[in-house]
């Protein structure tokens, strides 16, 4: 990781500067995470009266539990769909807005709303919209012959949370992509235009590759978002159902730990979740970042 050509020589100062952030991280992140690791090897009653070391039991159970394995796969589907959907739409909007000069600001203003909507509220809004009996969308879907029923139809439920989660993230992606597009040197676009490349082709062969650092950053943020921050949305729209069809890993952690009070198993799941995200981030840094450099 690079620094500046010249740096300050102070020995103590950098540690002092880092101290607040590191202290908070260690106390409120690393330490609890370590606690989670510890309790993932234990069986404990909720109140903590008795604690027994059980080794890898929780982990073994998880990997024997078809529900967990399903949730793993489902989370992947969910994360990929939400990330792709919200990034593609965000990018498409950004590309469109970037074409315009005069009206760009108005559209930007119009498109950034969802970002300001709290996940809890977003969940409620989509719940409301897709409510099978009073919702607007099922009402229209019925007219085109689709009986919407996310209470029983797992696919519908999945679509619902994907839409709701993606919707929430479009604006964020849009803003970053717009900023990214605006920093693509104009001369490259002009060179490509002279090279006979139309707006669409130019977008795919020039702008998009040049956006790769932004894309990379957003990819990490989005995967992270879908992995964790979508919890309130799932909770408010489908509650993980039907028949766990929308139970993602983080929702399962919540279900088992928060609702089920199964601390050991839920800790083991947290630990696995952290490992997955770290692995993903690591892989992204190792392989993707290398390719986004040019």
């Amino acid at each position: 990781m690079d620094t500046k050509r010249t740096t300050f020589n102070n020995r103590l100062l950098p540690y002092m500067l880092l101290a607040p952030q590191l202290a908070i991280t260690l106390v409120f992140f690393i330490w609890p995470a370590a606690q989670a690791v510890k309790s993932s090897f234990e069986r404990e009653d909720p109140f903590g009266f008795s604690t027994v070391f059980v080794g890898l039991t929780h982990y073994r159970r998880l990997f024997e539990d078809p529900n967990y394995l399903d949730a793993l796969w489902r989370t992947a589907v969910f994360a990929v769909s939400v990330t792709i959907l919200s990034m593609m739409l965000g990018l498409a909007f950004a590309a469109a807005v970037n074409r315009l000069t005069r009206s760009a600001r108005i559209y930007t203003t119009l498109l950034v709303w969802p970002y300001a909507v709290a996940p809890v509220v977003a969940g409620v809004l989509w719940w409301f919209l897709f409510n099978t009996s009073t919702g607007l969308l099922p009402f229209f879907l019925e007219r085109i012959g689709i009986r919407w029923d996310h209470d029983l139809n797992g696919t519908h439920a999945m679509i619902l949370i994907i839409i709701a989660a993606a919707w929430k993230q479009i604006s964020y992606n849009f803003l970053f992509f717009l900023a990214g597009l605006q920093s693509v040197p104009q001369s490259l676009i002009e060179a490509a235009a002279i090279d006979g490349s139309g707006p669409v082709r130019r977008f795919f062969t020039i702008s998009l590759p040049l956006l790769s650092p932004t894309t990379f950053f957003l990819f990490i943020i989005n995967v992270n978002y879908t992995m964790f921050d979508t919890f309130p949305i799932v909770d408010a729209t489908t509650g993980g159902g039907p028949a766990q069809a929308t139970t993602t890993l983080v929702y399962k952690v919540y279900q088992d730990g928060y609702v089920g009070l199964n601390i050991g198993s839920s800790s083991a799941q947290s630990v696995l979740l952290m490992l997955i995200v770290m692995l993903l981030t690591f892989v992204q840094f190792r392989f993707v970042e290398r390719r986004v450099q040019y």
Binding site: S187, E190, A191, A192, A193, D195, G196, S197, T205, P209
Partner: protein, 366 residues
């Protein structure tokens, strides 16, 4: 037939900046035109209107006989080389060169052949697989040239293509561009604010100032008969000395000094007098001359520039380093080498025909 005809072209930017005013230039097929002028004079704007990157506010641009005002850049059959090269950073050199051809659906085999040819011509064959960031400035510049060449366009447009290079490289790339253009015979418009580049490259120079043409002409024509004080001070290094003078019949008074013009006075009254540094020399004792007070010298090796004042006006003379100089000297000038400009308009005075062509003929080469 790929002449370019620019007639009465103007550009007003939204916001009201008038960047180019009624510019007309006829460029013959194969001609190398250089647009030169100070920063902000509208060179890039004019070039970009020819390229189609900027809408034309008024007037008409024709390429190869076709009015292209409404034609998209891609269809104008031109290629452009940008100041910062505008190489696609994520593509290899090969792909940078091939991109324009691919976009036009050129068959793979032909792309390969053309890229190979251009690369050979520019000696960048061994870098074809590299990305631009792994190239030096000069190599990047060549790639930018290559990208223009492979397309075999009707015209090349250059926007200060050398200004990112260091002095040494600039000189050698300048030679390369010139030779290449001669060889390919492609009509070219070249923008620069470096007068030396302009002089050495141009078949014809267009000197722009404030969005208007000050002068069009062959480089030496412009050098030897600048149409205005602006051109006079812009073309040639060191810049032409411009001092205030007064014509009294056949005599020219500069400050307290007075010299005879031997019949070369175009008019009378107050004028701006121009004289190039190399046209000044240290006077023989018996000569009519200007009193010169030396301020400082610059040693260029082959030449010595002496900077000083005549009366209260700054004058620079270029002399041989072998000639002895001192703080107070007398400086002589050949009256035929003087340029006279109107004090008001800065335009060359009508009667002031340049000294008979000093140019010895050059036998055509290549």
């Amino acid at each position: 037939m790929a002449g370019i005809h620019i007639s009465e072209v103007s550009k007003v930017y939204t916001g009201g900046v008038k960047a180019v005013s009624s510019v007309s230039i006829d460029i013959a097929d194969g001609e190398f035109i250089v647009l030169v002028g100070p920063s902000g004079c509208g060179k890039s704007t004019l070039l970009r209107m020819v390229a189609g990157l900027e809408a034309i506010s008024a007037g008409e641009v024709k390429i190869a006989g076709r009015v292209v005002n409404e034609v998209e850049p891609a269809e104008r059959d031109i290629a452009m080389v940008f100041q910062n090269y505008a190489l696609y950073p994520h593509m290899t050199v090969y792909n940078n060169l091939a991109y324009g051809l691919k976009n036009r659906g050129t068959p793979k085999a032909e792309i390969d052949a053309r890229v190979a040819e251009a690369a050979r011509m520019l000696e960048i064959t061994q870098y074809l697989e590299r990305k631009p960031r792994a190239l030096s400035g000069g190599q990047r510049q060549r790639v930018a040239m290559g990208r223009a060449i492979v397309r075999k366009p009707a015209a090349f447009l250059f926007d200060e293509p050398l200004s990112n290079l260091d002095a040494k490289l600039r000189v050698s790339m300048r030679g390369e561009i010139k030779r290449l253009q001669r060889r390919l015979g492609t009509t070219s418009i070249y923008v620069t604010h470096d007068q030396l580049e302009a002089m050495t490259l141009a078949d014809r120079l267009v000197v722009l100032n404030g969005g208007e043409i000050e002068q069009i002409g062959a480089p030496l024509e412009v050098y030897h008969a600048p149409a205005s004080t602006f051109v006079a001070s812009f073309i040639g290094s060191p810049a032409m000395n411009l001092v205030k003078g007064e014509l009294h019949g056949d005599k020219l008074a500069i400050g307290p000094a007075m010299i005879s013009l031997n019949g070369f006075a175009p008019t009378s009254g107050a004028v701006t007098v121009g004289v190039r540094a190399e046209d000044l020399r240290i006077a023989r004792d018996d000569e009519e001359a200007l009193p010169f007070r030396l301020e400082y010298t610059e040693e260029l090796g082959a030449q010595r520039l002496i900077h000083g004042t005549v009366g209260d006006q700054q004058i620079t003379a270029a002399v041989s380093p072998e000639i002895a100089i001192s703080a107070e000297m007398r400086i002589a000038v050949d009256a035929r080498r003087l340029h006279f400009f109107s004090l008001d308009t800065g335009k060359r005075l009508p009667g002031n025909v340049p000294a008979e062509a000093k140019l010895a003929p050059v036998e055509p080469v290549l």
